[in-house]
Symmetry: C2
């Protein structure tokens, strides 16, 4: 079994209104040290091991997990040791 | 300047309808190897260095970045080297 961690983030060029709102709230709560907040998605997938797993995860990201018009993605694949 | 990566995930005991929906879609697209999908938030904060930064980030998570009733959080703090 494999565990895949996928990080989906808005592209630098894309405005992040959610991030701006959270930053404002943090400043209101006196966390003035916060300069910027960017909010994205963090997905954890459990997969059975297959051939070309890297390629298939890339396809999953490109097709459904990320909107590649406005988002970037990266992923990490780990072997899950049965407990 | 510091960069803080925050990972917010639903607690194991909490049903993840979004994750179930994405898993179903992946199966429809013939990625049958996918056993489970859990969807959470990934936040990147840029902060000015302060005293007790770890404690203050913990507070930010507890108060606003995560809903600790149904979510867990963890974070990583990195020094940002000015380019």
């Amino acid at each position: 079994m494999l565990k895949v961690k996928v990080f989906v983030t808005l592209r630098e060029s894309v405005l992040d209104p959610q991030g701006v709102a959270v930053k404002g709230a943090l400043h209101t709560m006196d966390y003035k040290e916060v300069q910027e907040v960017r909010i994205g998605k963090y997905l954890e997938l459990q997969l059975e091991k297959t051939e070309n797993v890297e390629e298939r995860v890339k396809e999953m990201c490109e097709k459904i997990l990320a909107n590649t018009v406005i988002e970037d993605y990266r992923f990490e694949i780990e072997e899950v040791v049965p407990s």
